[in-house]
């Protein structure tokens, strides 16, 4: 009997397992993790990045990382949203308002030794977005451009087809406004550059571990002076409770995209944590497909507007962490006005409207996207609409399926918000202009304000602009292609180690002014 040998071999096996395990940890752990840098800022992202190419970039995680890496001709001041110089130290507008001359800073260097910034790079960046072969989402943003000239290495002259009062918004440091290096993009190719970007910003892209983290390091030769931290580590932590615990335990420094009301309350109570909040540049809207019977009837859309108790949703579901929305613009916009048709919650009126329209018995799908910040809102919407007699069915689609359904243009409803710059054209053109029919965010197929949008672009001064946009808001809130549900508020929390942080309204963040105590 070999009992003795087996007895020993068993315990030896377990022992070997233990030793092997420890050895593996020893070997792999330091290799898998770079050594912590002296002043590394650790920021929480809610989901992973996918694409850092300015022509295709969307979603706030991508935009936040990109904010660290790229610059634009101009930028928004983080606190005031004023448009101030970035790569262009100054610019002139011609008398007739169609010629913009930008004077670039001198000696701005691209990351990773790709040379010096020149006017040609600016021209390349914009022409690239406009090129149909690129298939950029932001073609519409630069559609006003007639031609781009570069008389010398530091001057860019952009001629517009017609005067456009909001043109400067289009060349700020967001999305299509980010300038890329001709040399880097042509050498690396679009796809490679999208995940290994080269920019002129305060941080240099270092690495991306899919699903886990993104690392950027300080750009010592940044034209505005080097950042005060040595690098930024963006960690993907989906669950907000876990992220909050990580913040209070000191595992992360800045908690970006804080949205859960319970977590907000918890962090507000913590003396070692500072919570910033301000109104965002976007509203969340319930978009109705007007080609889908019976949503083509204005009375039905009005009924839906009267039938959703938006104030209760803000108080009950969001515990007061959102603001009321009366149109697609929020108080963060210069062009904001509350002088629009208002619809207070009135279920009796809603039912009367439905009866008048002869629609007392129709059913409607309420469609949401799984794992998005907006997947919660479908429940109270469906519940409220059921209460006024509309048979609702909730469909939470997984993101891929949702994108497919939306681009097909056949879904009856959608929850849409246009996150980004304090440029009123952003939400208005994206959701209300004919040029944004699917594929695009105008799933209502609304075409009622295109001429008003053109008027607004032609406006000569701030006052005229305000009046023009007010007309757009009034018309859209009369026609009701969409129901504004709430105006978003942005929350960011950070530990007391973090100094100098300024929160913007764009739903991105910039670590440049931040230092660590």
């Amino acid at each position: 009997m070999t009992t003795k040998a087996s007895c020993h071999s068993l315990s030896r096996r377990q022992f070997t397992l233990g030793v092997a395990g420890a050895a593996a940890l020893n070997l792999v752990a330091p290799l898998a993790r770079a050594q912590g840098q002296p002043k590394l800022l650790r920021v929480r992202l809610g989901s992973d990045i996918a694409n850092l190419d300015p022509a295709h970039i969307f979603q706030v995680e991508n935009q936040t990382v990109a904010t660290h890496i790229y610059s634009g001709l101009a930028r928004y001041d983080e606190a005031t949203n004023k448009i101030v110089p970035d790569l262009a130290s100054s610019w002139d507008v011609s008398q007739n308002g169609t010629v913009y001359t930008f004077h670039l800073r001198k000696n701005v260097q691209w990351h990773k030794n790709f040379g010096a910034l020149s006017a040609d790079d600016v021209r390349f960046s914009f022409e690239r977005v406009l090129d149909p072969k690129t298939g950029s989402n932001y073609v519409g943003q630069l559609a006003a451009i007639a031609k781009i000239d570069t008389p010398d290495a530091n001057t860019v002259v952009i001629t517009l087809k017609a005067p456009n009062s909001g043109f400067m918004h289009k060349v700020t440091n967001l999305n299509q406004g980010w300038i890329v290096s001709r040399k880097a993009v042509t050498e690396m190719g679009d796809r490679k550059h999208a995940l290994n970007p080269v920019g002129t910003g305060p941080f240099v892209f270092e690495s991306w571990t899919p699903g886990q983290e993104v690392r950027v390091s300080a750009n010592r030769s940044y034209f505005g002076g080097p950042p005060k931290v040595d690098g930024v580590l963006f960690r993907v932590i989906r669950d907000e409770n876990a992220a909050a615990t990580a913040l209070t335990n000191g595992e992360i420094d800045i908690f970006f995209a804080l949205q859960e009301p319970g977590v907000i309350a918890r962090l507000k109570d913590d003396p070692n944590v500072k919570v910033h909040d301000r109104p965002a540049d976007h509203t969340i809207n319930f978009v109705l497909n007007m080609t889908h019977q019976p949503l083509d009837d204005l009375r039905v859309r009005q009924a839906i507007m009267y039938g959703i108790n938006r104030d209760a949703i803000i108080a009950g579901l969001f515990k007061g962490t959102k603001g009321p929305a009366y149109s697609v613009l929020t108080p963060a916009f210069l062009e904001y006005t509350e002088d629009v048709p208002k619809y207070a919650y009135d279920p009796a009126k809603a039912r009367a409207l439905l009866a008048a329209a002869g629609q007392t018995d129709f059913s409607m799908d309420v469609i949401g996207v799984g794992f998005s910040p907006y997947d919660k809102i479908v429940v109270p919407i469906a519940s409220d609409l059921s209460a006024i007699g509309i048979k609702t069915r909730i469909q939470v689609l997984e993101r891929g399926a949702y994108l497919q359904a939306r681009s097909g243009g056949k879904i009856p409803t959608a929850i849409t918000g246009v996150v980004g710059a304090p440029d009123p054209d952003n939400p208005i053109i994206s959701m209300l202009a004919k040029s944004s029919f699917p594929p695009g965010l105008n799933t209502s197929h609304y075409a009622g304000v295109d001429d008003l949008i053109a008027n607004a672009a032609a406006a000569q001064d701030e006052a005229a602009r305000k009046v023009a946009y007010q007309k757009i808001l009034q018309k859209s809130m009369t026609d009701l292609p969409l129901i504004p549900l709430y105006a978003d508020r942005l929350f960011i929390a950070h530990s007391n180690r973090v100094q100098g942080f300024v929160q913007n309204s764009l739903f991105t963040m910039n670590s440049y002014p931040v230092s660590l105590a």
Partner: protein, 297 residues
Amino acid sequence: MSSPAASLNPAHRNGNASWRRYARHPGFMTGLVILAAMVIIALGARWIAPYSPVAADMTNTLAAPSAAHWFGTDQYGRDVLSRLVWGTGISLQVAFSVMVISIVLGVALGSAAAFFDGWLARVLVAIIDILLAFPGFLLALALVAARGSSLSSVIWAIAIAFAPRVAAVMRAVVLTIRPRMFIEASTSIGMARWKILLVHVVPNSLPPVIVVATVGAANAVLGEAGLSYLGLGVQPPAPTWGNVIADGQGFLASHPMISLSAGACIALLVIAFNLLGDGLRDTLDPQMRRRADARTL
């Protein structure tokens, strides 16, 4: 007292599995009682649940447990208790459907693999082995991703992922019974092989398969919960227990009752199935019975 030789006789097995043996087994009876209670709750959900499981109430979100709401309300103001009550039916539906489907598929595949000879059997055995190589939950996940998230696709995904395990058990059992069956069959008047399979082999090999099936039911409840947690299960606002845990996860620190209570419900049902399985195994396994007697020596 049963002797080892007698316990090999399948007829004996059936004879000894009288219900009195089950009734004396405390684990089995506990499991049965729990399961029966759950079935009653599921059938009577409409009358037992105090509120509708999907009616949102924005004025009373995240309420703490109280007399009006025993487990409080969730973030939409829905009564958690009512959601748990209605969720019982869904979990039972998943458990029993998966059990039935995986038994049918697994028995067919496993007995065919064991009963026939030659290349057909080898192919079937290879299929079982290949499917067994995929971790069950992963296979179910991929299947649900492929077919979309609905109750029926979740059931089919989990059932298909579990069927190979039933097949493996079935095959092992049939392989042990097969020699005896052929001796009997050779004396019969040329009965077709598949008839022998159906009439003799399958009924006699069912006991171990039923035990595996209870494991499958337990797995199904846990699998549905896991898929819902990942967002791939039955979609909201369906009140599945997995969805309730997922909904409550965001409020774990402030309102742990939501996720905790749903988790407890899942555990209770799974415990019931496991107790049933243990009880069946104990009562049907002759060696186990002999062991109980052996201790008195």
